[in-house]
Symmetry: C2
Subunit: 380 residues, 2 copies
C-alpha cells in the first residue's frame, strides 16, 4: 500500500474513534455498557476506507477536514451497524479476527446494538448545520437517507434471490444488486457527502458518481475473489463461505453459465441446500418451541421433520462445496471476475480523470486515484 | 371502548395505511417484494394508538390533520420496526394473531425488513418542511432522533439486566427502563411531534410531558398484567411469556421482595435459566458450526456441552413457571401492579387537566382524556 494511502487511512481511523467517542453518550453506567458494545467493531482493526474517502473527497474539492469529520464518523457508524446485522443474518462466526458480536453477546444484544448505532447516526447529522450551514446539512441528510434506502433494498434483493433460489441472473442483475448493497454506502455516499460539505455543484456531484459506483463494483468483486482464494490450504479453517451461504457472485454466475447441463443442475441443487448450521438450528428451534407449547403430537413431530428436510434437503457437506470450488477453477471464473473488476476499476479511474478540469491536483486527488489500484491489490 | 376512542383509532389506522403506501417505494418488482414485507405487520390488526395520539395531540393544539398525518405514519413505521426486531430478540412465536415475521420468512429477512423500515422513516421527516415549515420540521426530526435513542437505550438496559441476571432493582429502576423503552416512542414522542406540528410553545411541550410519560408507564404495567392474566386456562397455549423470558416487571419485582429467602432464591435461580428453545438452539448452532469448521475435538465437544449447560443450567420447565406464577398470586403482586398502574394513569389525567387553561375543550382533548381510562381497561 502506498504511503499516501496508508497515512490517509490511519488518519481516518483516528478521526472516527475521536468523533464516535464524542457522539456516543457514556454519562451513566448503563450508557457506558451500551457504548462499549457500539465501539466493539469500530475498535477492531477496520480499514477506514469509507471515512477516508469522505475526508479526501471533501479536501479534493477545497473543503476543510473539520467540515466533514463528524459526517465521516457517522458513515463508519452506519457501516458497522450493517456489519453487525449482516453477521447475524449470515450466521457469521468471525469479524476482523475475533468472534462476531452475536457469538459473544447473543443475537438480541447484537440486533439492538446495531439499532442503537442507526439511532445515534441521526443526531450528529442534524447538528451539521453549525459546521456547513443549513443548506448543505439538509443535503447531506437527504443523501444519507437515500443511501440507507439503497443499502436495505440491495440487501433485500440478495436475500430474496437466496430465499427464492433465483439463479437466472445476468451480470447486469448482479451489478445492480452490488451497486445498491455495497457501492452506495461504501463509495457513492462517502464521496457525495464529502463533496457536498465542500460545496460541490450538482454537475460536479454527477461527474463523481460513476467514479464511486465503478470503484464500488470493483471493490465487491475483489471481495468475492478474496473469499474464494483465501484459506484454501489452511487446514481446519472454513473456506469458501460464499459457497456455503449460496451467495450470487459474478464468479459463480460465470461458472453456472459454463458448466454442462448436468453439472449446472447439480451445482444449483447443492447451492439450494442450507449450510449445516441454520437448518439444524431452525429444526431444533421449531421442535422445541412446539414441544414447549404442548402442541407437538407424534404426527406433528413427523410432519415437521419431513417438511424441513423435504423443503431444503439435507445440508451441504464439505465434499460438495469442494467439488463446486473445483468447477469454478475449471471454468476460469476467477480470471473472468478479475477482468470484470479490472474493467470497472479502470472505468472509475477514467471517470476521475474526467473531473480534472475542475478538480485541481492535490494529495487528496492523488489519494482518490491511489484507491483505484488499492481495491484490486488489497488482500483483505 | 368509547365511540370517540374507537373512531379516532379507526381513523388513525386508515391514515397510516394510506401514508405508508405513499412512503414505501413499490415501482419495481424487487421493491414490491420488500414493500409487502414492510406492510405485513402494519396490515395486521394494529391498535393505531401511536398515530391516533399524534393526530389528536396536533388537533388539540389547534393544528390540522394534514400537518401531521405523514409524521404519524412514520411513528407507526418505527413502532413496527421495533416490533419486528423485538420479536427476533425475544424469540416470539406470534404477533397480532399470526406467526411472527421471522417465523414465516426467517431471521435474516426479518432483521433487514426492520432496517428497511428504519431507513424509510427518514425521508418523509425531511419532506415535512413543505407541510409545517423548516423550523417545525427540524424540531420534529430532532425529537424523533431523541426518541429512537431513548428506545434503544431502554432496550439495551432491559437486555443487560436479563443477561447479567440483575434482580436487585427498585420500582424506580423499572420505571426508568419503561419510560425509555416504551413511553418515549409510544406516548411522549407522538404527543410532542403532534404538538410541535401544531406550533406548540416550549412551556406547552413541557406541560404535556408528564401526561405522556405517566400514561406510558400505566400502559406498560397493564401490558405486563395482561401477559400474566391471559390464557391461563387455555390448554396447550403458551402463557406467562414474560416469566419464560425472565422479564423484569413491577409484578415480579414485588413478588421477589415478598417471598421468604428460600423461595426468592429458588425463583431467581429458575428465572436465570433459559427458555427451552434458545439454549438448545445456541448449543446446536455452536456444535454444528465447530464441527463444520473441523475444529471440534472430542475434548472440545465435552467442554462446549459443559460450558453451555453449566453456564445457564437446564432450561426452565412448565411446572417451574407454574410454581412461580402461583407465588405471584400468593404475594398479591397483580393487585399491587394494578394499583401502581392506576396511580400513574391518574397522574396522567391530572397532568392533562393542568393543561386546560391553554388547551381548550375539543373532541381531540376528550380523546386524550379517554385514553387515560382506556390504558387501564384494555384487554389486549
Amino acid at each position: 500500500m502506498s504511503g499516501l494511502l496508508s497515512e490517509a487511512l490511519d488518519e481516518a481511523r483516528d478521526v472516527v474513534l475521536q468523533e464516535l467517542d464524542a457522539i456516543i453518550p457514556g454519562g451513566t453506567p448503563d450508557q457506558r455498557l451500551l457504548k462499549e458494545l457500539i465501539l466493539d467493531y469500530p475498535l477492531r482493526a477496520a480499514k477506514g476506507l469509507r471515512p477516508a474517502l469522505c475526508l479526501q473527497a471533501c479536501r479534493a474539492l477545497g473543503g476543510r477536514e473539520d467540515m466533514v469529520r463528524r459526517t465521516a464518523a457517522v458513515l463508519e457508524l452506519y457501516h458497522n451497524a450493517f456489519l453487525l446485522h449482516d453477521d447475524v443474518e449470515d450466521g457469521s462466526h468471525l469479524r476482523r479476527g475475533a468472534p462476531a458480536l452475536h457469538r459473544e453477546h447473543g443475537v438480541p444484544v447484537a440486533i439492538n446494538t446495531g439499532d442503537a448505532m442507526l439511532a445515534l447516526a441521526l443526531g450528529p447529522l442534524l447538528e451539521n448545520t453549525a459546521r456547513v450551514g443549513l443548506g448543505r446539512a439538509l443535503h447531506i441528510l437527504e443523501r444519507v437517507a437515500h443511501m440507507v434506502r439503497e443499502s436495505v433494498e440491495g440487501q433485500a434483493l440478495e436475500l430474496s434471490w437466496i430465499q427464492r433460489q433465483v439463479w437466472d441472473l445476468s451480470e447486469d442483475d448482479y451489478t445492480r444488486m452490488v451497486v445498491q448493497k455495497t457501492a452506495w454506502y461504501s463509495f457513492i455516499a462517502p464521496v457525495q457527502v464529502g463533496a457536498i460539505a465542500a460545496g460541490a455543484r450538482p454537475d460536479q456531484l454527477a461527474a463523481l458518481l460513476p467514479f464511486a459506483r465503478d470503484l464500488g463494483i470493483a471493490f465487491q468483486v475483489q471481495d468475492d475473489l478474496l473469499n474464494l482464494e483465501e484459506g484454501r490450504d489452511a487446514y481446519g479453517k472454513e473456506w469458501a463461505g460464499d459457497l456455503w451461504e449460496g451467495k450470487r457472485t459474478i464468479i459463480l454466475l460465470h461458472t453456472l453459465r459454463h458448466l454442462d447441463a448436468a453439472d449446472a443442475d447439480r451445482a444449483r441443487a447443492l447451492l439450494a441446500r442450507p449450510r449445516p448450521e441454520p437448518a439444524t438450528e431452525a429444526l431444533v428451534a421449531e421442535l422445541c418451541a412446539l414441544r414447549a407449547a404442548g402442541e407437538l403430537t407424534p404426527a406433528g413431530h413427523d410432519r415437521l421433520l419431513s417438511r424441513i428436510s423435504g423443503d431444503a434437503g439435507p445440508p451441504k457437506d464439505a465434499a460438495e462445496v469442494a467439488w463446486l470450488r473445483d468447477r469454478i477453477d475449471d471454468c476460469g471464473s476467477l480470471a473472468h471476475a478479475r477482468a470484470f473488476a479490472t474493467r470497472h476499476a479502470r472505468a472509475a479511474g477514467e471517470a476521475l480523470t474526467a473531473c480534472h478540469p475542475w478538480l485541481p491536483p492535490s494529495p487528496a486527488r492523488d489519494f482518490l486515484h491511489a484507491l483505484v489500484d488499492y481495491v484490486l491489490e488489497r488482500t483483505r
